[in-house]
């Protein structure tokens, strides 16, 4: 469980390397630190739904990343807001 305003890091994990998967955490935020904006609710895990497997409900969060933490170009204070599942987030 994370709260609004909390600092979180997206796990630097690459399940794609192990075999066919369906991941909804974009590559460009893996390992990056951001801030939880709000809790969006519990939803069945798409990683399992994609293979017609029984899917557990997981917490979904809106997480904000400074552009400066993602790429060298552009206005560093602009940001990117992404929906990320709880199991992809950790406390840095």
């Amino acid at each position: 469980m994370f709260v609004a305003g909390e600092t979180v890091r997206v796990k630097d994990s690459w399940p794609e390397a192990a075999g066919p998967v369906h991941i909804r955490t974009p590559h460009y935020v893996r390992g990056v630190v951001g801030e939880v904006v709000r809790f969006l609710g519990d939803y069945p895990n798409p990683e399992d739904l994609a293979f017609a497997r029984p899917a557990e409900r997981r917490g979904l969060y809106h997480v904000r990343f400074r552009r400066g933490a993602l790429w060298p170009e552009g206005r560093a204070e602009d940001d990117v807001l992404i929906e990320i599942f709880e199991h992809w987030l950790e406390r840095p």
Binding site: H27, L49, A50
Partner: protein, 102 residues
């Protein structure tokens, strides 16, 4: 290892080789094929025979070259067929027969 190398091919956010592509912003209508595929997917989802997650997985499984060569709705159609076969809603033998008969 670099994130761009480790990513799945459909995971395109910020990927350098696509950033230079000009974006054609003109409106383009859907043709009959597009509309039928779109409707079919919605119906299969409503009937719990195929989720949007399975649609996406099927599209992501298309080899990279084919993925870019196929139009948007042709990718959908390939994924729909793939998913229905995986789910056993149709069999490969049935599909081959239906293709031959067409």
């Amino acid at each position: 290892m670099d994130k761009e190398t480790q990513r799945a091919h459909h995971d395109m956010g910020g990927v350098a080789k696509f950033m230079c592509e000009t974006v054609d912003i003109e409106p383009h209508g859907l043709d009959d094929f597009d509309r039928e595929v779109d409707a079919l997917r919605q119906l299969l989802s409503a009937k719990q025979l195929m989720s949007v997650d399975e649609l996406r997985r099927g599209i992501e499984a298309i080899p990279e070259g084919e993925y870019h060569r196929l139009s948007y709705y042709r990718r959908w159609m390939r994924s729909i067929a793939d998913t229905l076969l995986r789910r056993g809603v149709i069999t490969e033998a049935e599909l081959r027969a239906a293709l031959e008969g067409a």
